[in-house]
């Protein structure tokens, strides 16, 4: 069997990332909306903009960062490359390019998901409907993962899909943890207060990790315990460490099985990141400054993506380089 077209490898890597990104955006909006329900007075939606570094992009919309405006920006805004609609549209365009490889069922589901998103109206986005909408987006993204696991042929495309999804998930979980930081740490007096605990609960729930966290930590709830769970717990599938391990394992297997053993740089970067995550604890991150530490992880994941581009997607051949597929700025 031939190797995969480099363009197709890149397309499926990004397809997986785009779907996973939508999954996380739905989770982050959902958790932020829950914060706002638990807070008296006007809630700060700018934190979500800061989280994605989107303050400037948002300014271009000319709107104030109200709940409605920020929710629209992240779900339906055509001009925001990170909005769920944009991500799923790009995922669908990638899927279209990948149709000779992916299963018909994968295409049908993604196509239907996109079509439903593109029919959403303003009223569907109102804060009181947000929870339902976010659930729909999450479920659709999970359906994509399930159909992919059940139907995609295990050639190189499968590995690139899994690596893409895992890298995006690791990146997004750092952001999800960071929401909490952005929102709460500016007021140290809140630490340990009842409202603080409720909000940490919400972060855990948004990642579907609350009950697992409780089983590991039946008695107590502290910021460092939550961070340990979300960032370092390898048994929690959305944790940064677990995702990096998944990416590492799949990349390793891909290299062994498909004749890529000479390509080491992406793999080395991932292995190094996995080793760091195995050694560190939440207290180390907090000591370094949580936000900066999480930023550092994001940068390392970016370096892995760049290395994959050079090694597998042939992005360095300047003259004949494949044009990038539909791809959004991370």
């Amino acid at each position: 069997m031939n190797n995969l077209l480099a363009r197709h490898a890149e397309c499926i890597f990004w397809l997986a990332r785009q779907v996973e990104r939508s999954n996380s955006i739905a989770r982050i909006l959902d958790v932020n909306e829950s914060f706002s329900r638990n807070t008296r007075g006007e809630h700060d939606w700018e934190s979500v903009l800061r989280l994605y570094g989107d303050e400037q992009n948002f300014k271009a919309t000319g709107r104030r960062p109200t709940a409605d405006a920020v929710i629209h920006f992240y779900i339906l805004d055509d001009h925001n490359a990170n909005s769920v609609l944009s991500s799923i549209r790009m995922a669908r365009e990638n899927a279209r390019a990948l149709r000779p490889l992916i299963s018909t069922e994968m295409w049908v589901q993604l196509n239907g998901f996109h079509n439903r998103l593109s029919r959403l109206r303003k009223a569907d986005l109102r804060v009181e409907n947000l929870n339902r909408l976010c659930s729909y987006i999450k479920e659709s993204c999970q359906t994509h993962s399930g159909i992919t696991a059940e139907t995609l042929y295990r050639d190189e495309s499968w590995y690139f899909h899994q690596v893409g999804r895992a890298i995006e998930r690791a990146d997004q979980t750092t952001r999800l943890v960071d929401v909490k930081y952005q929102v709460l740490l500016p007021q140290p007096s809140d630490v340990g207060s009842p409202i603080d605990e409720a909000q940490w609960n919400t972060v855990l729930r948004s990642a579907a990790g609350f009950h697992a966290f409780r089983r590991v930590n039946p008695q107590s709830m502290s910021p460092s315990k939550v961070i340990n769970f979300m960032v370092f717990d390898r048994r929690f599938p959305r944790s940064v460490a677990a995702s990096v391990l998944v990416a590492n394992e799949h990349l390793h297997e891909l290299r062994l099985k498909h004749g890529h053993t000479a390509k080491r740089s992406a793999s080395n970067l991932l292995r190094r990141l996995a080793a760091t995550l195995a050694e560190e604890t939440a207290d180390d991150l907090i000591a370094r400054g949580l936000h900066e530490a999480l930023d550092g992880i994001q940068a390392e994941l970016g370096a892995v993506t760049d290395a994959l581009g050079r090694e597998f997607f042939l992005l360095t051949e300047t003259d004949d380089a494949p044009q990038p597929p539909a791809e959004s700025a991370a």
Binding site: N2, N3, L4, L5, A6, R7, H8, A9, E93, R96, A97, R99, P100, T104, W107, V108, N111, G112, E156, H258, G259, H260, F312, F313, L314, E317, D320, P322, Q323
Partner: protein, 483 residues
């Protein structure tokens, strides 16, 4: 319509004086369709509509679509599917099949001759300037050998049935004919939506087209003495036939590539894979000559592969269809095809052309000028720009203006009578009504020619319309060839 009288759904259906694909004609009934007629007659309109809607929804969900891109958005459209099949008897099909095989053989001999000895031009059978001055004539092909001497490996022949019940060729598609994916998908759809309609009728299968095509490409590769590393070259997702490219690549299990996935080094073609550059020996290309290689043809083409023609001429890659086949499906050359068949095969055309007047010839021009209000006048080659004149629909000024153009440049035109296309019962808003249809069978040619039993039946969904194109309200039907 003497063999049987409908009592249910088809009661009151009248073909309106045209030949009907299900009922035949009064003097020429179609007994082979009787079981199908009876079964359709036994259905209710509501049931038929329900199944039709389900079928179209399925096409949409499966993405059996072509995409229309506007500046703001992209709209996925299906080729509307009519659930009532078009049924051909074994004998009718035998005629079509022999006719298509004959025609493809003659066209291939013609192209081979034009790019080598040019006997047919020297003998004055086809005017040399018509061929050599044609925009689709490719001097790059002079003296180049292609496998088995066959240039048109995939051919779609557009056939219509006239009021006399006979088949006529309306057009040859010898470059990159499309539509075959709908033939296969329509059959799948009928099998799901209408298992009861097909039961025990004995319809010839169309599902092995992909294997046949893959077999052809391997056969073409055999001559190169290398592994048949085959790819399908598509213009990409924005092309309206992209679904078909996906379909065929999947059916054959070969990579679907775009120009940017390929490159030429030392006159060899490679594709860019995760494992680096891997050789490509056969390309089923769905890109027109003009866009294949910016080095040789349209220099602005972003779709092609720089250097591809060098590799082709060096014999390092096979292209299907070969380059330069456009000279065989030009409207002006079409008029000469019966003479081309006679010249090379010493046979009469099994499938005649629609009566065609070549305005470049004196009698043709005179006839056309005298009968302009009854004729369809078509521009030939790339000379056009003025479009088609449909005599019966044209006003007096338009006719006069066209007369001037005809006299000024007669060789730019051919004329034909308005063909009374046959009809087929079709589900419409106002019940079951006759709608005009044509037929595009697909022929696959390597060492020999194989014709997919059936073909694409296109149907003009607008009442009275003779235009079956998907861009102008056309749909399609499943085409059954009986065993």
């Amino acid at each position: 319509m003497t063999d049987w009288t409908p009592a249910g759904l088809l009661q009151g259906y009248g073909p309106g004086g045209f030949y009907c694909e299900l009922f035949g004609a009064a003097q020429r009934p179609a007994p082979h369709t009787r079981t199908v007629r009876e079964r359709i007659d036994g259905l209710s309109l509501a049931e038929l509509r329900r199944r039709a809607q389900a079928a179209e929804r399925e096409l949409f969900n499966l993405g059996v679509t072509f995409t229309v891109y506007t500046s703001r958005e992209q709209i996925d459209r299906i080729l509307p599917f009519d659930v009532i099949p078009r049924v051909l008897s074994a004998a009718e099909w035998a005629t079509i099949e022999r006719g298509v095989v004959q025609r493809v053989a003659a066209l291939n001999r013609f192209i081979q001759d034009v790019y080598h000895e040019q006997r047919i031009l020297r003998d004055g059978i086809v005017p040399a300037e018509l061929v050599l001055g044609n925009a689709n004539y490719r001097p790059q092909m002079r003296g180049l050998k292609v496998p088995f001497g066959n240039y048109v490996n995939i051919c779609g022949v557009d056939i219509v049935r006239g009021g006399d019940g006979r088949f006529y060729v309306l057009e040859d598609n010898a470059r990159t004919p499309s539509g075959v994916s709908y033939v296969v998908e329509n059959r799948h759809l009928t099998q799901r939506a209408f298992p009861d309609l097909m039961r025990n009728i004995g319809v010839r299968s169309v599902s092995n087209y992909g294997q046949r095509l893959a077999g052809l490409l391997a056969e073409l590769a055999a001559g190169t003495g290398r592994d048949p590393s085959v790819v399908l070259l598509s213009p990409g997702v924005y092309n309206s036939a992209y679904f078909e490219h996906v379909f065929l690549a999947r059916e054959m299990g070969v990579p679907l590539v775009e120009g940017r996935d390929l490159l030429v080094r030392d006159d060899r073609v490679f594709m860019k894979t995760t494992g680096g550059l891997q050789p490509v020996n056969v390309i089923y290309r769905r890109i027109d000559d003009d866009f294949l290689d910016p080095e040789e043809f349209n220099p602005g083409s972003m779709l092609g592969v720089r250097g591809l023609m060098r590799a082709y001429r060096a014999g390092n890659v096979v292209l299907a269809n070969a380059v330069g086949t456009g000279i065989a499906d030009d409207k002006a050359v079409y008029a000469y095809v019966p003479r081309i068949i006679r010249y090379y095969l010493d046979e009469e055309a099994i499938l005649p052309n629609v009566e065609t007047h070549i305005c470049g010839e004196r009698e043709g021009l005179e006839y056309t000028l005298q009968h302009l209000e009854e004729l369809v006048v078509k521009p030939v080659g790339e000379s056009g720009g003025y479009g088609i004149l449909i005599g019966p629909h044209a006003g007096r000024n338009a006719l006069a203006e066209f007369r001037r153009r005809l006299r000024a440049a007669p060789a730019n035109y051919i004329s034909q009578p308005v063909v009374q296309l046959s009809v087929c019962p079709t589900v419409t808003r106002s019940g079951i009504e006759p709608r005009h249809v044509d037929l595009r069978p697909f022929a696959v040619t390597g060492r020999s020619t194989w014709v997919l039993p059936g073909g694409l039946t296109r149907v003009a969904l607008r009442k009275g319309s003779l235009v079956v194109n998907s861009s102008q309200g056309g749909g399609s039907k499943d085409t059954w060839v009986l065993e």
